[in-house]
Amino acid sequence: METTIDIVLLTFLCITAIAIIYIRKLFCGIMLLGIFSLLSACLFVTMDAVDVAFTEAAVGTGISTILLLGAMGQTNAHEKRPPYQPLIALLVVLVTGSVLVYGTMDLPVFGTPDAPIHLHVAPRYIQQSPIEVGPPNMVTSVLASYRGFDTLGETAVIFTAGIALVALLGSSQKKRPPCASPPQPATLHDHLILRIVGKMFIPLILLFALYVQFHGDYGPGGGFQAGVIFASGIILYSLIFGLNTAMRVVSPKALRLLGSLGVLLFGGVGLLCIALGGNFLDYNTLAARPVDGQHLGIFLIELGVGTTVFAIMVMMFYAFSLRGRNTS
């Protein structure tokens, strides 16, 4: 049964990919990419990677699509036919692909339990992490504790993307002539149904984000996904009630502050561990009992990740939509 679902999903994915190659309308391409992400999220679920699936669904189908559409709205919606025959590209791809297929020949068969990666490092995570670290969700313990430093790097990456966007898109705003009366941005303000349903949904979305944030120890979820969901709540708000209103609720300045503070919180926890006599990010030192310390540490850094991700995602959305408004 598992295999059948697996193959069906893979086939769907292949069809979507081929469609993306052929389709020339960028809008359709972006939508297909969203479908591609959603399908791969489903595939991740069948392969037991629930956390990954969650993130892929939130990021690939949610944030990526929004960003791509935002960029497309300011540029051109149609792709021109390439002037040259991409034969060389095809050749490169074929060579790379065949090298990869050649490389998989010596890999263990899909799904075998005695592959090297299941024998060497992972067993400790599976057997010891509930005792050493605590959370029943092993992905959370590996992510936040064993490989917590990767997560710090990841938070820094998302932070970088945010400030890169502001640096690139926010820079030449001042040069534009200020409009006397700000043009009424295209919002869905007059749409009664949307407004009411939106009002019902947004609190639920925010609540769900908090659930994901604090439930990450026990099920799929964690700071990153929570941040993305929280941000999508704000994005929905600004779509319905207008960018100006949203920026009064969460100002860009506050976002910059929150984004920085999240990274600093994460790093600060690490430094605190040093101050308390452990290594960097050694949560054991945070409390009398190591497991309590781990719990506290993971809670704090997930909070840092969530804050940064939320702030940066909204920041990115603002950057694109402000730019779009200025150019149009």
């Binding site: 869905l188 749409h191 149904i193 949307l194 349903v197 019902m200 949904f201």
Partner: protein, 104 residues
């Protein structure tokens, strides 16, 4: 094979059938507004039947509550989305194809 299982199977089969019909409709129907009809079939009846079938299987557990939430969410969001789509299409000046003699 209890009665519950049979009901589940029926629900799922019907849901799947409606889903396929919806997809087929989107592909075959001539214009935007008729396609909207097809997609709302998938959104409403198909999703509901599948969710109901699953709820029967999960019994009184947390999973059922979550399924209920999904159902609630779907009811609200899919209807609103359809509404928004139709309204946008109308305000952008997309004319329905069916019912206009000169086009057929």
């Amino acid at each position: 094979m209890t009665i519950l299982d049979i009901t589940t199977a029926l629900c799922l089969t019907a849901g799947c059938f409606l889903g396929i019909t919806g997809g087929f409709g989107i592909y075959r129907l001539p214009d935007f507004y008729t396609r909207l009809h097809a997609s709302s079939v998938t959104d409403s009846a198909c999703a509901f039947l599948i969710l109901f079938g699953l709820m029967l299987q999960s019994g009184f557990t947390l999973a059922t509550v979550k399924l209920c939430f999904i159902f609630f969410f779907l009811v609200l969001s899919s209807t609103t989305a359809t509404h928004a789509l139709a309204k946008t299409a109308r305000s952008r000046g997309l004319e329905p194809l069916l019912g206009r003699e000169d086009k057929r």
